[in-house]
């Protein structure tokens, strides 16, 4: 990481708007992490755009002293695609919630990812609808009782990581808001990725879904319930790093001792390993960190290259010539 040239500070990225989240909301931690990370990225404030949908999480852009667009529910990836294609020079972030991006906005999310638009997509996953006061979301556990499902939900949740990998995402990671160091590292990686970067951030909502992640994301249980991914390192976990993911029978992963554990490889072109890791759910350890980071051409760059190629082939712009293209004829001033 190069030293910041612009000498910006966290304060430079803090807007004058009051932050309107509930006391104790994990969104605060994410905001702090992003505001702290930004100066390090060395991008001038005016070249940074935050785009969001609707939800508690989607208030995020108001608090960043950059350009920001608080869109409509679910459409942030589409708005951001327009921003990035219109000006590929900008660094574009998308902030979204589990309802915003996986319920109403699911399609835009997977399409942005398949297109590999260079967006940094942060999904604040609290497994609930916060802003509308506590309905089930597509990540709420099956059978969960919420305001909209007093008898328990009947729809199985998405696994966001498997979903986005299935859609062809080139960068996929997971972190948790209460692990500042890990979260910051993951965000830094996402920022550095050229192409769509998808980050699921487990985010506690103390008001409507308190403790959703405490069984595996609290400090004292993390070691046993999460497998921290490090590129080139074996897939091991446990306080003593004594458990490992190994190749099991008939092309499956199995839990066993650390010995002979599969080695994590973010950069593998084939998506098998990343998919297998994404699909791990309790009682298996869950994947934590960067699952995949593969560079591919991005939409906005390909599009601009085409434009240039067309210009090179067909010559410079000439509106008059364009209007007169095709079969034309003259009508004279005199008698016909």
């Amino acid at each position: 990481m190069t030293a910041p040239l612009l000498k910006l500070t966290k304060k430079d990225f803090t807007s004058d708007q009051e932050v309107r989240w509930c006391p104790g909301c994990a969104d605060f931690a994410i905001l702090a992490a992003v505001q702290k990370l930004m100066p390090e990225l060395n991008v001038p404030r005016e070249k940074v755009v935050f785009v969001s949908g609707i939800g508690c999480s989607s208030r995020f852009p108001y608090y960043m002293n950059t350009y920001g667009f608080h869109g409509i529910h679910g459409r942030a990836p589409a708005i951001a695609t327009g921003v990035k294609m219109a000006n590929p020079d900008l660094q574009v972030w998308v902030v979204t919630g589990d309802g915003d991006s996986l319920s109403i906005g699911g399609n835009h999310l997977i399409h942005a990812l398949r297109r590999n638009v260079d967006l940094k997509i942060l999904l604040f996953d609290n497994r609930i609808y916060g802003l509308t006061k506590g309905q089930a979301s597509p990540t709420s556990e099956l059978g969960k009782k919420t305001k909209s499902s007093p008898l328990g939900t009947v729809d199985r949740p998405f696994n966001p990581l498997t979903l986005v990998l299935g859609a062809g995402a080139t960068f996929v990671a997971r972190t948790v808001a209460n692990d500042m160091a890990h979260m910051t590292q993951v965000l830094r990686r996402a920022a550095a990725h050229k192409g769509s970067a998808f980050v699921e951030i487990w985010q506690n909502c103390p008001v409507f879904n308190d403790g959703a992640f405490e069984q595996w994301a609290e400090k004292d249980v993390r070691d046993d319930s999460l497998v921290k991914l490090e590129h080139g390192k074996p897939l091991v976990w446990g306080k003593n790093k004594d458990k490992g993911l190994r190749i099991g029978g008939n092309f499956s992963l199995e839990m066993g001792s650390a010995e002979g554990a599969v080695v994590h490889d973010e950069k593998r072109e084939d998506v098998t390993l990343a998919l297998a890791l994404s699909a791990l759910e309790p009682p298996w350890p869950q994947a934590f960190g960067v699952l995949r980071a593969v560079e591919k051409p991005t939409l906005e760059v390909l599009a601009r290259e085409q434009e240039k190629a067309a210009a090179a082939m067909k010559g410079p712009k000439d509106l008059a010539a364009l209007l007169q293209s095709g079969d034309t004829w003259e009508v004279g001033t005199g008698e016909a």
């Binding site: 108001y62 350009y67 667009f69 399409h111 712009k317 209007l323 004829w329």
Partner: protein
């Protein structure tokens, strides 16, 4: 090829020709080719293509009939014509659908070979119209296309199937002869078209020539017709469809404002061609984005406008419906945005390939909340150029979404377009904010347009969104009085667009018996109808509204100069209700909801009967 000069010719002033056949028969191509030659010949013209919603409905059924009509003339032409003088019917289904329209005494060219029992049944004929007297009163030319074409292309090296597919060029050749068209340009065009498959070029050429010669040989007519060039306004012309003109208008707007265009769209009939065309103009700073759906298309366009491009999106009714929520966002964020609706028959999926004017309500009133935006409509294929340019100008200068209404008949119809000189096109500037001193995102200029500060501009970082905004800072505001102020400000900004309109100047009589108020694609039929009605002594004016919202300020005053108001529309009366609701104007509706344009005669007779009904009584005169 050298063609013996036809012996004698009958000079006429205009003609209407319709080509009709199966979807697979290539009638759209035939029509387009004939149109090009008419244009290059110097005729004025108007066309009306009409095709089914399926790619190819079952061969030989009426559902699969595809038609193309052209009126071409030695004088100005406003509509594709009510009734064809010449009808080409490639099969019984085409005859079934179109015979009723053929002018009494008109020329009917039928494909003899296609009238077998099975063919007739598939088309729903109870008996054979060729022999049961159905064709009495028409001049019928029966041709065994199959045989003649097969003979003609023999040796060209194409399969029997490909040979048979040359039928349309045979028909084209024949019609060329009938109207004494030159064949050279067409021959060049055929060669160019099939450049990659020389044997097909050869076969089609032969078919074309054979058709031409056939006319000559059988002396189909005593004398073929000639229609001299029209005395149009001097200048350079090009024949153009509405969608093509529209796309060029957008490109021109980008170039004239210095803005990059961002066109986000999702395919839908009859708007898709705009995407196709713009995709070919990428080097003119045009980004095209085929989105996953209509919502993403407009959302991306909005994002691009936020970023300093001119965001544009295009669709038809069902797609417009999907864009509704996002239009609200554009209204709230006061960003330039052009939303094109190429209307088609509704409601719902409706009649996708037919024309209609039934999305006016949706355009003006179809959003949640108090959500005003500008709505403008184009009136003819070539006018789509100017209208698109105007939509872009309003969007940029007033920082507002603008809905531009076109329709299926404009989109696919064509007419000669007097090419504008680039020097004469309006220029307009985005006037980006750049100075941090005193900058506020919702500070307004004299047009009430807010500051447009784009990412990349240092010191102007700000946030916008769909929640109500403070009247100056643009920050979220739940303040009661601020909300009322903002609702009224947004409305007033749109209203003021009208202050810059030119005076409403009716065509033809500027006071009198009847004022016809129209909008959109009915322009041609209305114009011709007014001309004809005036010839019968009625004093008629015609106002064709480009601006649907806001309306011209002086419209009521103009209307007051006439005894009666006629409002013809291809819907149940949307403009009529709009005018009554907005300015209390009482008009009589002429309404047709058949997926088809007005016939000139329909409008003319409505004018005449209204003039009669509203004629001053004896007492008044006294």
């Amino acid at each position: 090829m050298s063609v013996p000069a036809p012996r004698s010719q009958q000079a006429i002033q205009h003609a209407v020709v319709r080509f009709a056949g199966d979807s697979g028969d290539g009638m759209q191509l035939t029509g387009t080719e004939f149109t090009r030659e008419a244009a290059l010949h110097g005729n004025d013209l108007a066309t009306f293509p009409d095709y089914p919603a399926e790619i190819r409905a079952p061969a030989g059924t009426t559902a699969g009939v595809s038609g193309y009509q052209i009126q071409f003339a030695a004088h100005e032409v406003f509509s594709p014509g009510d009734q064809p003088d010449t009808l080409v019917a490639m099969n019984p289904a085409a005859l079934k659908v179109h015979l009723q329209d053929l002018k009494r005494g008109g020329l009917l060219i039928v494909n003899d070979a296609a009238f077998e029992k099975g063919d007739l049944e598939r088309a729903g004929w109870k008996s054979n119209p060729l022999s049961d007297g159905s064709l009495e009163g028409y001049r019928v030319i029966r041709i065994n296309f199959e045989k003649l074409v097969t003979q003609a292309v023999e040796g060209a090296g194409v399969s029997a199937k490909d040979a048979s597919r040359c039928k349309n060029f045979f028909a084209l050749g024949l019609v060329f002869w009938i109207y004494s068209r030159e064949t050279e340009r067409e021959e060049i065009a055929i060669r160019a078209r099939f450049a990659k498959k020389p044997e097909l070029a050869e076969a089609n050429l032969r078919a074309f020539r054979a058709g031409y010669n056939y006319g000559e040989t059988i002396e189909a007519l005593d004398a073929p017709f000639t229609i001299p060039p029209a005395k149009l306004k001097p200048g350079k012309y090009r024949n153009i469809t509405g969608n093509s003109a529209l796309a060029l208008g957008l490109v021109a707007a980008g170039q004239q404002s210095g803005l990059r265009l961002f066109f986000g769209s999702y395919p839908i009939t009859p708007a898709s061609d705009i995407l196709h065309e713009l995709s070919r103009y990428r080097r003119y700073d045009v980004t095209t984005f085929q989105a996953e759906d209509e919502i993403a298309a407009i959302a991306a366009a909005i994002g691009s406008s936020f970023t300093g491009s001119l965001g544009i999106t295009a669709s038809s009714g069902p797609g417009l419906a999907l864009k509704t929520e996002a239009m609200g966002l554009a209204v709230m964020t006061e960003l330039p945005l052009v939303i094109i609706n190429v209307q088609r028959g509704g409601p719902s999926t409706g009649l996708p390939t037919k024309t209609e004017q039934s999305d006016l309500f949706q355009a003006v009133y179809g959003r949640n909340g108090e959500c005003p935006l500008a709505v403008i409509a184009s009136r003819s294929p070539a006018d789509c150029f100017e209208t698109a340019l105007e939509a872009c100008r309003i969007a940029v200068e007033y920082r507002t979404p603008v809905i531009m209404l076109s329709d299926g008949s404009l989109a696919n119809g064509s007419e000669p377009w007097l090419l504008p000189r680039v020097e004469d096109l309006p220029k307009f500037s985005p006037n980006f904010a750049t100075d941090p001193a005193g900058f506020h995102p919702y500070k307004r200029d004299e047009k009430m347009a807010r500051a447009w500060a784009i990412p990349g501009t240092p010191g102007l970082e700000h946030r916008i969104g769909g929640l109500e905004k403070d009247a100056l800072t643009g920050n979220i505001s739940y303040d009661a009085l601020n909300h009322e102020k903002m609702v009224r400000t947004r409305a007033e900004k749109i209203r003021r667009i009208a202050d810059a309109f030119p005076k409403t100047q009716p065509y033809f009589d500027d006071k009198g018996d009847v004022l016809v108020i129209g909008w959109g694609g009915t322009y041609g039929s209305i114009t011709q109808a007014v001309i004809e009605a005036r010839a019968s002594g009625i004093r008629v004016g015609h106002v064709h509204l480009r601006h649907i919202f806001p309306l011209p300020n002086d419209l009521s005053d103009v209307a007051a100069r006439y005894r009666a108001i006629l409002i013809p529309e291809l819907n149940t009366g949307q403009l009529r209700l709009h005018l009554r609701g907005q300015i209390g104007l009482e008009g009589i509706g002429l309404n047709k909801i058949q997926g088809k344009p007005f016939h000139v005669a329909e409008v003319r007779s409505a004018i005449e009967s209204l003039a009669r009904r509203s004629a001053p009584s004896a007492k008044e005169i006294a």
